[in-house]
């Protein structure tokens, strides 16, 4: 066991770190895009009546399609239809971003709608426009309320990203499978890779949770369990 670990994991650590770098990069970019796209979809759904049904259709579509279908679709169909993405990495990023944006849009909506209506009215009553009330009152609180779901969604992206290897992006999972298929010794390699994924997700979640708890504590709101 230790022998296998020394033979298959240790010598490939450099490779796995390269894969992990790609995984983190893909996830970070995809998630950042998902936040922006989700916010736009949510704001349109809530505040732009004429485009509301487009936003709903987009949200439902992105959530209802399996990630693997989106991956293949963006990677093989988009270049034909739209002339991009130009690389498999971007195809992976876009597919992950589309899927997550749908979930995030719904998370944002519940955060915004859950906020007591009275707080916005208090803003309007002192002369704020709706835009100012949104920026100063709704958004900061919605982010706090939604922090746990947003963190969770990031973990979902990291997990879903293990599928991008099927379009030949050399992420951590891709490298792991390469080593496994070379030596047919899956136990140590896959276990080590699982630990790397767990550590990555845990490190990100713990950091985000600490930031959110800091503000909740500062405002005297109960820290999330």
């Amino acid at each position: 066991m230790l022998d296998n670990f020394n033979r298959f994991v240790i010598p490939n650590l450099g490779l796995f770190m390269d894969g992990l770098t790609i995984t983190v990069r893909i996830c970070a970019i995809a998630f950042a895009m998902a936040v922006v796209m989700g916010a736009i979809a949510c704001l349109i759904r809530l505040y732009v009546p004429v485009l509301r049904y487009f936003a709903i259709a987009y949200i439902e579509f992105s959530r209802a399609t399996p990630i693997i279908v989106q991956l293949l679709w963006v990677n093989y169909v988009w270049p034909e239809l739209f002339g991009f993405p130009k690389s498999v990495e971007w195809a992976g990023i876009i597919a992950l971003a589309i899927q997550s944006s749908g979930y995030l849009a719904e998370t944002f909506r519940s955060g915004i709608e859950g906020l007591a209506r009275g707080q916005v009215e208090a803003g309007l009553a002192v002369g704020m426009t709706r835009a100012v009330a949104f920026r100063r009152i709704v958004a900061p609180q919605a982010v706090l309320v939604m922090a746990p779901s947003i963190i969770n969604q990031f973990a979902v992206v990291v997990k879903a990203s293990t599928l991008v290897s099927i379009i030949a992006i050399p992420d951590l999972m891709y490298d792991a499978l390469k080593v496994v298929n070379q030596w047919f010794e899956p136990i140590e390699v896959l276990t080590s890779v699982a630990v790397l994924y767990i550590l990555t997700i845990f490190a990100l979640s713990a950091t985000a949770k600490r930031v959110a708890d800091h503000f909740r504590g500062k405002y005297g709101l109960d820290a999330q369990a």
Partner: protein, 262 residues
């Protein structure tokens, strides 16, 4: 009220105000004028339309018809060159609202801001004051509600009475022409209503123009200059406290008053 005062231009005027939710008429032709410096209490049974009236006064609720004038300017509507009225822009509506303070039953403080930040938020964001200037104003009004020592506390750490006083300071910090209070003490434990009523009484004595929806009959009788009784969206009684409480013309008002007297 003497003649000199009566001849002044009203600070607030409601002209044939109506409000319906669907087919349900909540306010049915409300008309009244109010002079600056007057404290007007609005009383009436639950569901009679008191909150809706206040919310129409600052256009949180859009009237179905009729006009509210603040200091001669129509709210939510804009005078056209030909003298007609057209719907106003959101920015102008916000500008008018900034001149009307409102205190809510549920306080509605912003929980992610300290007491002082709550109070300086509108002077900063709406009036565009510099931070130092806004803080000076904020501290002045927090002092007025006896909460200077709580300037840095967040709402969750304040009692209901303290929160409501911060909310009053927040409204005052915009130096509004009129203050609206919607059952400001109804959500408070009985032992905390006193500190809020004391602040309101002090404001009244300073000559603040106030429209006070209240269930506190003693406050209405002792502090206001004028009392209005609302019944199913109609002003049934409107007069000096002594007259409304002592000798109401309306039978319904008489019945309401005896129902709330213990």
């Amino acid at each position: 009220m003497n003649n000199a005062v009566a001849e002044q231009k009203p600070i607030l005027e409601c002209r044939d105000l109506r409000k319906a939710f669907g087919a349900f008429e909540v306010l049915r032709s409300i008309s009244f004028e109010m002079q600056a410096g007057v404290v007007l209490s609005v009383i009436g049974a639950s569901g009679s339309g008191k909150s809706t009236l206040l919310r129409c006064l600052n256009y949180l609720e859009q009237p179905s018809s009729g006009v509210v004038f603040l200091d001669g300017e129509p709210i939510g509507l804009r005078r056209q060159a030909d003298g007609g009225l057209k719907p106003d822009s959101p920015a102008n509506i916000a500008r008018m609202r900034a001149q009307i303070g409102m205190v809510f039953q549920q306080f509605n403080l912003w929980p992610h801001m300290s007491a002082l930040e709550n109070v300086i938020e509108a002077p900063r964001q709406v009036k565009g004051l510099k931070r130092a200037e806004a803080i000076e104003i904020g501290r002045h009004y927090l002092g007025k509600v006896n909460l200077l020592d709580k300037a840095d506390a967040y709402p969750a750490r304040l009692s209901g009475g303290q929160q409501q006083r911060v909310a009053i300071a927040r409204a005052l910090a915009m130096q509004p022409k009129v203050m609206l209070f919607d059952e400001a003490t109804s959500a408070l434990d009985p032992e905390l209503t006193g500190e809020v009523l004391d602040v309101m009484r002090a404001l009244a004595e300073e000559g603040t123009t106030m429209v006070v929806v209240t269930h506190e009959m003693r406050f209405a009788r002792d502090v206001s200059d004028r009392v209005m009784f609302l019944h199913q969206g109609v002003i049934e009684e409107d007069g000096a406290p002594a007259q409304v409480f002592g000798n109401p013309a309306s039978e319904r008002c008489r019945a309401f008053l005896s129902s709330v007297a213990h």
